[in-house]
C-alpha cells in the first residue's frame, strides 16, 4: 500500500469507489484517440464473453494526451460492447482514467497500473497496448486465463510477424535472454501481457523506479524480474502483431529500452545467469512463432553503409569495448565487397558478449556503449536479410535457432569476461 502515495487523490478516490476486483486491464496511452475506443470495446467484449461473473475494471494510465484519449476511454460505455456482441453484463465494468504525468513514460504508466492492481487486490491483470488494433476478445482471454484459471504468474505473447520484423528481437534480445536465463521466451519485450497480483506487487515493491526506468524499459525488466523470481511463465499466441514502427531513427531508443535493460540485468542476477546452461522451452498456447513471407522493400545498402561508417568512424570507441581480435575481424569484414559481405553468427555473438561485459564493467558511459552497438547491429541485420532473402518460414526459424544455439554455446565466454578481473 506504500505505492499509493504517487497516485493522485482523485484517482485514489475512483479506485476506492470501484472496490476489490478479480480482473484488471490496464491501458497505457498517449494521444491514441484513433485506436483507443476500439481497444477498450474489445477489452469489454473479452471480459463480458470470457469472464462474465468476475469483478473487473479497466484502468487507463495516460501520459498527457491532448487529443481527448482519456475522455474516450471513460466514455466507452459498456452498452456499446453489449450491442455489438449481444452480450449481457452481470456486473458493472468501471472504466477509469488518470494522468500520471504531462509527458509519456512507459515505466510510470506500468507503475500506475501495478499500484492500481495492488489497491484493488486484482487476482489477474493484463496490460494492453492502445495500438494493438489486431487484438480480439479471444486474445484477451488467451492472456488472462492462464493467470486467472491456472497457476501461471506471467503470460507473454507470441505473434505472427513478417520474417524481417523485429530483427533486434530475433537477433539479439530473444537469443541472449534465452542463453542467459535458460527460458525460451520469444517476446521478452511485450506490450501485451498478463500477470498475477502477487508478481505485480512484488515487482512494484522491489523495482527501484528511478528516473531512467520511468522513461522506458520497464517491460523487459518485468519479464526479467519474473524469471529471476522463479515465477511460472507461459506464452499465448495472439495472432498477427499490430502496429509496427518502421523508422530507422527508432533503433537507438529501442536498443536502450531492451538491450540496455538486458545488459544491466547482468549485475544483479550474476549468480542466477552464470550458473544456467542450455535452455528449456516454456509452456505455450498456440504457435510459438509464425512468419509471413510477403515481399518487403528494404534499403539493404543503407544498412551496410551505416555499418561501414560505424566501423570506420568509431574505431577509438570500439578499442575501449572490443577485444583486438574482434575489432580486427570487424574491420576485415567491413573491407569485403557487398556480394561477399557476411557478419557471421559467431562473430556477432562474440561482439554482443563483449559489449555486455563492457557495459557490466562500465568501461565508458553505458549509454555510449548501447549507441556504439547500433551500427554493428545494422551489419548483422544486413546479413540476416541476405541469408533469409529467399528462405521459407522454416528456414528463417532454423536460422534464428542456429543463432540461439551459438549464443548458448559461447555463454562461458561472457561468464569468463564478467568474472574476470579488470
Amino acid at each position: 500500500m506504500a505505492e499509493e502515495s504517487f497516485l493522485t487523490d482523485h484517482f485514489l478516490g475512483q479506485l476506492i469507489s470501484v472496490g476489490e476486483v478479480d480482473i484488471l486491464v490496464g491501458v497505457p496511452t498517449h494521444n491514441n484517440a484513433k485506436t483507443v475506443r476500439s481497444i477498450v470495446e474489445t477489452i469489454q467484449a473479452g471480459i463480458l464473453t470470457f469472464f462474465p461473473r468476475e469483478r473487473a475494471a479497466i484502468i487507463n494510465a495516460d501520459g498527457g494526451s491532448r487529443d481527448g484519449t482519456p475522455e474516450l476511454v471513460v466514455r466507452a460505455a459498456i452498452g456499446d460492447a453489449q450491442r455489438g456482441s449481444k452480450l449481457y453484463a452481470l456486473r458493472t465494468l468501471p472504466s477509469i482514467s488518470t494522468q500520471y504525468a504531462s509527458s509519456p513514460a512507459n515505466g510510470t504508466a506500468l507503475r500506475t497500473i501495478l499500484a492500481a492492481a495492488e489497491l484493488l487486490r486484482a487476482k489477474a491483470c493484463a496490460v494492453i497496448s492502445p495500438e494493438s488494433t489486431q487484438l480480439t476478445a479471444d486474445c484477451l482471454a488467451a492472456l488472462l486465463k492462464p493467470v486467472y484459471a491456472e497457476t501461471f504468474d506471467l503470460v507473454l505473447p507470441t505473434y505472427r510477424r513478417h520474417r524481417f520484423d523485429g530483427i533486434l528481437l530475433t537477433n539479439l534480445l530473444y537469443p541472449m535472454t534465452r542463453a542467459l536465463y535458460g527460458s525460451r521466451i520469444r517476446e521478452p519485450y511485450a506490450l501485451e501481457f498478463a500477470f498475477s497480483g502477487r508478481l505485480g506487487s512484488q515487482f512494484l515493491a522491489q523495482n527501484p523506479w528511478h528516473e531512467e526506468t520511468a522513461r522506458a524499459g520497464s517491460e523487459v525488466q518485468f519479464t526479467l524480474a519474473a524469471i529471476a523470481g522463479g515465477y511460472p511463465i507461459c506464452q499465448s499466441f495472439l495472432g498477427t502483431k499490430g502496429h509496427v514502427e518502421r523508422h530507422s531513427a527508432d533503433l537507438v531508443p529501442a536498443m536502450r529500452q531492451t538491450v540496455g535493460v538486458l545488459f544491466s540485468s547482468l549485475e544483479p542476477n550474476l549468480a542466477l545467469w552464470s550458473a544456467k546452461t542450455g535452455s528449456e522451452p516454456i509452456p505455450t498456447t498456440g504457435a510459438e512463432q509464425e512468419f509471413t513471407l510477403e515481399p518487403l522493400r528494404i534499403n539493404r545498402k543503407r544498412l551496410r553503409d551505416m555499418f561501414l561508417t560505424g566501423v570506420t568512424e568509431l574505431e577509438t570507441v570500439f578499442q575501449s569495448i572490443l577485444s583486438p581480435s574482434t575489432l580486427a575481424e570487424l574491420q576485415r569484414i567491413a573491407g569485403l565487397e557487398e556480394s561477399r559481405f557476411r557478419y557471421p553468427a559467431e562473430l556477432w555473438v562474440k561482439t554482443v558478449y563483449e559489449f555486455a561485459a563492457a557495459y557490466h564493467k562500465s568501461v565508458i558511459s553505458r549509454d555510449h556503449i548501447i549507441q556504439a552497438l547500433a551500427p554493428l547491429f545494422r551489419g548483422r541485420a544486413f546479413t540476416f536479410l541476405m541469408e533469409n532473402r529467399n528462405g521459407s518460414a522454416a528456414d528463417v526459424e532454423n536460422n534464428i535457432e542456429g543463432l540461439c544455439l551459438e549464443f548458448e554455446r559461447m555463454k562461458p565466454y561472457l561468464v569468463e569476461m564478467t568474472n574476470g578481473r579488470e
Binding site: L169, R246, L251, I298, E313, L314, V317
Partner: protein, 235 residues
C-alpha cells in the same frame, strides 16, 4: 698601526663568528625542516598514489582523454603525475617554511604569496581535468549521434566539439592561474569568433546542397514518400 689592524681583524673575525654562530642553528633548522618536509611529502605521494590507484583514476583519466595527451607529451600516467606534483608542492612548501626561519628580508611576503596561490593552482588543475573529461564525453556523444543519424563527417563534428570545449577550458584555466588574463581573454574571443565564422562560412558555402537536400527531406516529405522503401522494425 699594526696593533690597530690586528684589532680590527680580530673584531671582524669575532663578528663573523658571532654571525655564523647566530645563523648556524637557523641553517640546521632549515635542513631539519627540509628533511621532515621530504619525509612528509614522500608519505603524501605514496598515500595519494595508492588512493588514486584504488579509485582507478587512470581509467577516469583515460576516458577523459587526458592519458592520451600525457602519453603524446611523453609524460608519466595521470596518477604518477599527480602524486609527483603533490610531492613537489608539499616539499617546496616545507623548504620555504625553513627558509623563512633564516629571516631574509622580504622573503616572508613571497612565501605568503606562494601559499595564497596554491588554492588557485589546485582549482586550475581541477578545472583542467574535469574540462578534459567533459570534452572527451561530449565529443564521443557527438560522434555516436552523428554516426547513428548517418550524418556526413562524424569525426569532424566530434573533433570540433572537443576543440571548442578544450579552448573554453584552457581560457578558464589561464584566467584562474592569472597568466596573461587579458591576452587569453582576447585570444579566446578571437579564436572562438573565428571558429564560428569559419563554420558558418563553411556550412553556408560548402553545405549549400546539403542544406537544400535537408530542407527538401524535411518539408517535401509527401512527394518523396512515394518512392520510399520500408525501414526495418527493430522490435
Amino acid at each position: 698601526m699594526r696593533e690597530m689592524v690586528i684589532s680590527e681583524l680580530t673584531q671582524a673575525m669575532q663578528e663573523l663568528s658571532r654571525g655564523f654562530a647566530h645563523i648556524l642553528p637557523r641553517i640546521i633548522v632549515l635542513v631539519i625542516v627540509a628533511f621532515a618536509g621530504w619525509v612528509v611529502a614522500y608519505l603524501l605521494k605514496v598515500l595519494l598514489r595508492s588512493f588514486l590507484r584504488l579509485i582507478k583514476f587512470d581509467k577516469l583519466s583515460e576516458s577523459a582523454g587526458a592519458s592520451q595527451l600525457l602519453s603524446k607529451a611523453a609524460l608519466p600516467s595521470a596518477t604518477e603525475l599527480l602524486s609527483r606534483f603533490a610531492f613537489w608542492v608539499a616539499w617546496l612548501g616545507f623548504i620555504l617554511l625553513g627558509i623563512s626561519v633564516l629571516g631574509v628580508f622580504g622573503f616572508q611576503e613571497q612565501i605568503a604569496k606562494f601559499f595564497l596561490y596554491l588554492p588557485r593552482l589546485f582549482a586550475a588543475l581541477l578545472t583542467m581535468f574535469f574540462g578534459l573529461l567533459a570534452a572527451g564525453f561530449f565529443s564521443r556523444a557527438a560522434l555516436l549521434a552523428a554516426v547513428n543519424a548517418n550524418l556526413p563527417s562524424p569525426r569532424l563534428l566530434s573533433v570540433s566539439v572537443r576543440t571548442i570545449i578544450i579552448i573554453f577550458v584552457l581560457s578558464m584555466v589561464f584566467e584562474e592561474v592569472g597568466v596573461a588574463e587579458e591576452t587569453v581573454l582576447v585570444a579566446f574571443g578571437i579564436a572562438f569568433g573565428a571558429l564560428m565564422l569559419g563554420l558558418a562560412i563553411a556550412f553556408g558555402m560548402g553545405g549549400k546542397d546539403l542544406a537544400q537536400q535537408f530542407l527538401e527531406r524535411r518539408f517535401g516529405q509527401e512527394k518523396k514518400d512515394e518512392g520510399k522503401e520500408d525501414e526495418l522494425s527493430p522490435l
